[in-house]
Symmetry: D3
């Protein structure tokens, strides 16, 4: 039924390659099938003006596509002299999502710049960006812990994102590729923590609407995808994985 | 518990004044408490390049705030020479939402420009914009039907939007004012049709997360708010209300 | 003879509604017939770089139109990424005019931002803006006096503006509406103080010219209009009116 | 009394050099004392979109200063990426003034571009620009008549501009240099035809005001200056001078 | 003597990976040591306005760096809203160089867009871009020949670029890495054809100068580097290599 | 053979007029035949951020053309809101070239702004700009020495620039006018010191290439032109000429 014969709850092949580029503190190449995104995390020793003097940090994200990441060549936003609404929406989403699992009070007056550059696009670039950016961020903060700049890893949980949707035939599916995304009636991006809490939920009917039962099916698929992605993130970040898992537990304890 | 003594499921006072400005085909001043938005719908007899020659129309929305709609004066986006990410995100949302309840094939090669200008802001400007814009759009299309340009009202259902959220105390509430929005842990905008279908769902943890039970409580509050808002829209658009209700039924029939 | 049957020296109905929007220190909705402008005055506790450290203040004005304030929808200047020459010319005029009746040495290192936003346009938007902005400015400064920030009202005289012109039939008229403005051969904006001194005089032949006798007739009409407008301003600002009148006298004495 | 010992009604030395640059159809270097402006008129065989198909032409003007035309170096507007309000105001003034003495119906669907570039500034750059631009325009149109493109010179009268003002000492003066302009209380630019009709009148109190008698004295000084400037323009344009004078007479006849 | 122990006439390790990204007609990842550039060639079926109707094509290049391609993160040019002088200079160079070895008359009214995106920078990004772009261009044109769009490969010779320079110690070297480039007194980029003709020569003294003998030594080193690079290009493009070599001969014959 | 009957090694008539505009510290009008450029050097008492606190200065250049410097009118870059690639390339070249003969350590924390404004263009505007800018810079620094701001002239050698090229007929020529530049196959700009060292070499095949023997002939022509230009510069700067010549010698001594 799906053009690449996946099951409705099956992710595309996901790979996470770390230390992809040499200069950034954290650098990851993440692939969801043919979607490939370079996620670089850079540490800057100052914060934006609105935060100065408060002793806390900030995370800001930027997102872009190479002109020929897509079937048709896109005009560069630098040539147009302005950033599109779609780009701004995505980079605001990525930054917001990451800030939900980072304790900004523990990073000092530093900014973490997260650059997500899509080199090949086949649907799901924003969810791949978030999932890969999380890994780059952990690696960057890990280096700051290792060199003594930070006392502990300021990351409170895993963070992944995945798309779900409803095809015109009425079927709910996980991890839409571009062809599926183009014809889907409903498109939803779910950003979730490793503990299964929602960070962000963005569901859109594309000249269509969706009902409560459809919403529930989609959320259930998303939960399955998130579980798979967290496993891959754990492999990519190695030992830091246990540190984060430890924080999850104390986090749950704190709430109760 | 709420600073204006509302119940958790209580809307602020909502008023919809039609024919507010004389030039636009549809013009509405909508108030949600101290939030006041002018929603103007303008008809243009051509479509953007990507739709030319296809015999169908388009709806595009623009959103702006007067510089002193807020407690602190904002710099005009025209002075800055560019539109902010937040503005772009909101105007894309408004346009997308309206397109979900308008049959673009029935409006010919026309663009409906919807301008939402916030003259006073106290939280919920994007949901007030969508709720008011729907009324302006119906009035504008109504005029095109009355003067014979269109054969029938191309609107397939009511469209309203409302915010819900979770306060730091853990309480879920409906229709957040600015003070509540500032301290809420979770902020969710729900765009719904008169038949209770979702058009758009945007939930965001503000450096926080939310669980499935919290999501369900919020959606239930939103449904209550939507029901109240549809009643107010019906009063504002008068006779066109029955025309839309008639389409709802046939719409449901078509789906079955 | 005039399309709305006014006499040549008759203003349109002018109304001034104060406290129109809640956040600004001074907020006015002024109407000249169908021309409606929101004038907001905001106080900022710093001055532009060129004035820093001199112990004096500044007044700066911004002017904009809602896209559908006019018969044809205008593209937003924020979307175009730049402000038009006409807009810049008007906002420079408004700021300059207000500075002529405010003693900038008495307001400390503060900037008064005056925002004039046209929500409906039918000719004379710049003169309505100045006339309404003056009221907003007095109210804003009045609040600073009342809360002890300023020792006295730093306003030295009333300030009003009105248009005059010459119709193609050769008749000089006062307060041109859009229809008259479109066909007038000569268009002149007169900014005057309550004592009848000129602050600004801008007369333009529209692919035409005007003679000295025509100029004198126009100036005489403008003086009549100004007298009427000052009465309306006095009603709008209440008790501050006498304070300003008191300054006029001492001002005249100082000059002699 | 004046820092360069001129009488109150005395112009600075004014020179008009024609054919200054080789490419433009009309090219003039005009000097008012140390103020030097290159005025180039270029003919383009098409009109802006709003005039297409109407068989008439258009005149548009651009104004700029070399960065070091002034005492302090100015940042180039091309580097800033936008044109200042002052520049826009001046170029709109120059274009409007020229259109008042050119019969746009007689030039076909052509645009006359008038570029006024100030290479050295010492006050009065906008009036020098208009006075010089008129000469460049006559020369450019003269060439079009000579080569048979136009049947007759489409210029209906002479056009000059001059500044007048009021010094702090209360004296009214003609043709302000920069030093005088800086300290003047009132600054007025008068654009007049050869027959003494007003085209544009722009008087501004610089944080000051002016009375009716002061206005009348200034206008009388301006008339003197205009008479002198028209003589210089006649010398610069040679034989075309009589053609224009001939049109003045028939113009007056038409009006009576 | 060189920090990576290369001989003065030794290139860094150069690799050319073809078919790197799936959408573009030609796609290459080229590495010069730690400098890595993605070169994508896209075919568009129209030409810029200045070439329309002439039956010939065009090649245009764009160049950019990922923000963290470098040691310090760079602000994106899309965020700044304008392209830097350095970027413009490089993309003009790449386009000009490619046009020297492509017969634009033989590609019809098509534009070849060449995007060079640096993902990791360690000196020599512009020369790597040209060398890699050539391969991407040949592959893209090869596809057009294979699918019958073009009759023959419109490429007249090989094209490579390499940097040479003079170290402060006075030694001339080939293929400068970033560390060498930073301290070099002279930096020269040489663009050459496979037959050893110059296409572009850009030598710059960095607050220094260079003599004729130094120029000659640098040109000799460049020739060595070019010979090595052509060999690598031949491997990358496979069979098309002989087609180009065939054209070289006939080209030489034509000139004699 | 050349359209103005010059010999292949003959410059156009070159004139250098000093003190052309009154405000700048150094001001020159330079002509190469019909190419005329105003070169103004301005001293500013601060440096760009990247140099602050290092006790050394900077030279930055800007280049522009009047819209009608050319046969066809060009749109102003200020109207377009951005500076073209060509302009940026030229102004970077001018700045870089001047910095090669100025000892930035000896000018303190000052910026020298060099503005090259082309008022009439007939080929070779960038080389005329450099040659004229050098004279303006020497005059500006000379004034700083004379008024005691600087201890000595911080100029280490003469600096001139000239174009050479290859015509389609195969002839190498010196100092191309616009007509020659348009049809030349190769265009090379050579920036040289008075001692015959290269500062910058930019040779470009215009959809063509050039061989080593052609390069050598062009460089030999350039050397002849530079010798002639240095003589003219010496006349223009008078006594400062000997000061620079004195530095040349010691410079050579230092190197040996």
């Amino acid at each position: 039924m799906r053009n690449d014969h996946r099951k409705v709850n099956e992710l595309r092949e996901v790979t996470i390659e770390t230390d992809y580029v040499k200069h950034p503190e954290g650098s990851v190449l993440i692939s969801f099938g043919d979607t490939k995104v370079i996620c670089n995390a850079s540490v800057e020793d100052r914060v934006p003006p609105f935060l100065r003097g408060q002793g806390k940090g900030w995370i800001t994200a930027e997102y872009a596509m190479l002109p020929r990441a897509t079937e048709q060549r896109n005009i560069r936003e630098s040539s147009k002299g302005k950033v599109s609404g779609r780009t701004m929406e995505i980079q605001r989403l990525i930054g917001r999502a990451l800030r939900a699992v980072v304790d900004l009070d523990k990073i000092g007056e530093r900014t973490l710049w997260v650059d997500c550059d899509v080199i090949q696009a086949d649907g799901g670039t924003r969810t791949a960006s978030i999932t890969g950016a999380f890994v780059a961020v952990v690696i960057a903060f890990g280096k700051l812990v290792e060199n003594g700049t930070l006392k502990e890893l300021p990351v409170t949980d895993f963070l992944t994102a995945i798309s779900v949707g409803v095809l015109p035939e009425g079927e709910e599916i996980l991890d839409l590729c571009y062809e599926e995304d183009s014809r889907a009636q409903v498109d939803m991006n779910v950003v979730m923590t490793g503990q299964g809490e929602f960070v962000e939920l963005q569901g859109t009917g594309e000249e269509a609407t969706f009902s409560m039962p459809q919403l529930q099916k989609m959320l259930s698929l998303a939960q399955e995808g998130v579980n798979d992605l967290v496993k891959l993130q754990k492999e990519a970040i190695g030992d830091w994985s246990d540190v984060i898992t430890g924080k999850q537990v104390s986090g749950a304890a704190k709430e109760s």
